[in-house]
Symmetry: C2
C-alpha cells in the first residue's frame, strides 16, 4: 500500500437557484467523480445562497478544514454574481480589475461590447491566479487552496481540467461493486461481521428498487489492493451462502 498523505477536498456550490429547486445541480457529482479518480477524498459538499456573509462563513470553514475547496457559481456579469467579492472578503484581501482578465475579455468583446457588466467578470481578488480555460474568456481564479469556477457545467469542467494537473493527489481509493442479488436485510448481519474483520476496507451497502423488487449493491473500497481482494472474496462467499439459504 502506498504511504502517501491523504488529500481532501470540499465543494461549495453557490446559488439561490439550486436551493429553490429550479436548477438541479450536476456539478458536484461530476467533480466528485473526477476527484475520486485522481486520489483526492471529497469530504463535504455544501450549497449556499447568493448571500455574501453566508458564503464567507462557509468558505472560511471549508478552506480551514480541507486541502482544497472548489466553488462553482456566481462569477458572471450580473448583480447577483457576488462570489469574487465574497472570496476576497473571506481572505481579507482587496479586489480589482485584473489586467490579463480584462485583456482576455477585450479579445471577444471589442469596443462598447466590453460594458460595465462584462468588466465585472475581470474583478479578481488581489493575489489570486487566473484559471484560464478553453470554454470561456471569463476566467476562474485560484487563491490559496480555493478554486473559484463557473456554474455553467461546460465552463466549470473546462476550468477544472485546467487546474487538475497541478493538484496534489493521494493514494487512489480502489473500489469493487458487487450486485448482491439479495435483500439488504438478508446480508446485513454477515456483512457487518466481514466489515469488523477487515478494518482496512470500507464496505458500503446500497439498496435499490427495480422492476424485480429490492436488490443491493455492495461497494468495497480500500487504498490497499490486497486488503480489497481479501474482503471481496469473503463477501462473495457470504453471498453464495445467503442466496443458498434463501432458496432452500
Amino acid at each position: 500500500m502506498e504511504n502517501r498523505k491523504l488529500v481532501t477536498a470540499a465543494v461549495l456550490l453557490i446559488g439561490d437557484e439550486i436551493l429553490s429547486g429550479r436548477t438541479k445541480d450536476a456539478n458536484a457529482g461530476w467533480i466528485a467523480e473526477r476527484l475520486t479518480e485522481m486520489g483526492i477524498d471529497l469530504k463535504e459538499i455544501r450549497v449556499v445562497p447568493d448571500d455574501e456573509p453566508v458564503i464567507v462563513d462557509a468558505l472560511n470553514a471549508l478552506r480551514a478544514r480541507y486541502t482544497y475547496v472548489f466553488t462553482t457559481g456566481g462569477i458572471g456579469p450580473t448583480h447577483d454574481d457576488i462570489t469574487a467579492d465574497a472570496v476576497a472578503r473571506a481572505f481579507g484581501v482587496g479586489i480589482d480589475y485584473h489586467p490579463e482578465a480584462v485583456a482576455a475579455l477585450r479579445e471577444i468583446f471589442p469596443g462598447d461590447r466590453l460594458n460595465e457588466a462584462r468588466l465585472r467578470m475581470a474583478r479578481i481578488p488581489l493575489g489570486a491566479d487566473l484559471i484560464v480555460n478553453e470554454a470561456s474568456k471569463a476566467p476562474g481564479f485560484r487563491i490559496g487552496n480555493v478554486f473559484v469556477m463557473a456554474g455553467i457545467p461546460k465552463v466549470m469542467q473546462s476550468m477544472f481540467r485546467a487546474v487538475a494537473p497541478g493538484l496534489e493527489t493521494g493514494p487512489k481509493m480502489l473500489s469493487e461493486t458487487i450486485l448482491a442479488n439479495a435483500k439488504e436485510g438478508d446480508v446485513g448481519t454477515p456483512l457487518g461481521e466481514i466489515q469488523k474483520r477487515h478494518p482496512d476496507v470500507s464496505i458500503g451497502s446500497y439498496p435499490f428498487q427495480d422492476e424485480k423488487g429490492y436488490n443491493t449493491n455492495l461497494v468495497i473500497r480500500s487504498r490497499d489492493p490486497q486488503a480489497l481482494a481479501a474482503a471481496k472474496a469473503e463477501v462473495l462467499a457470504m453471498l453464495d451462502e445467503v442466496r443458498a439459504a434463501s432458496s432452500a
Copy 2:
C-alpha cells in the same frame, strides 16, 4: 403581502456514495422544490460521509440555525447505517428498539426473517416520533426540528409526504421566469439598476448554452405579488430596449 414569519430549512445528505460520485443525488433537488412550493425557505444543503462525529457536528450546526432539518440516508439494516446513532448522539439522548417500529417490521418479516440486521431499523432515538409511511415498513423519525428520512428516493418521498402537512409554513415565494433571448453580459448593467430600484424582489440571472449559443433566464422572485409584477414590467421593457439596440 402576507405578514407571516419566515420558515427556513436545511437538507443534510448522509452517505459516502454521494461524495465518491458513485451515486448522483436527486433527493436534495426534489426536497428543494417541495419546500419552495410550500413556503419554506431552503437555506443550505450539506453532504457528509458515513462518519458519526461529522454527522453530529453538521446536524447540531444546522438544527440550531434553521427551523427544520431534513436528513436522508443511513437508516437501513447494515453496519454503515449510522444515522440514527448519530442523531441520538447529537441530541444527547439514548437509542433503543421502538416497539411500534418492531411491530411494523414484524408484519412483513415474520419469524427468523426479522433478523438482527433488520431489527437495526427499529432502533430509534429516545423521544423521537416515528414517520410512518406507505413505501416502507421501516420508519423514519422526527426528533425536535429534525426529520430523519431514508435515502432511497421513493421511500424518502413517501416519508416527506407523511410529514409535510404538519410543517409550519411561511408566505410563499412567488417566481416569474423570463427567457431573455439576450446574452447575460448585455443585460447585466440595466438589470442591476432594476434590482436596485426594487429591493423587495430578488432578480437572478442564469446563463445557459444551447444550440443557438448563449442565452439567459431571468428569474424574479418576491413574496409580494405587486412588487413582483412591477419589477417584471421593468425587466420586460428593458429586454425590448436591449434587443432593439443589439439588432440595430
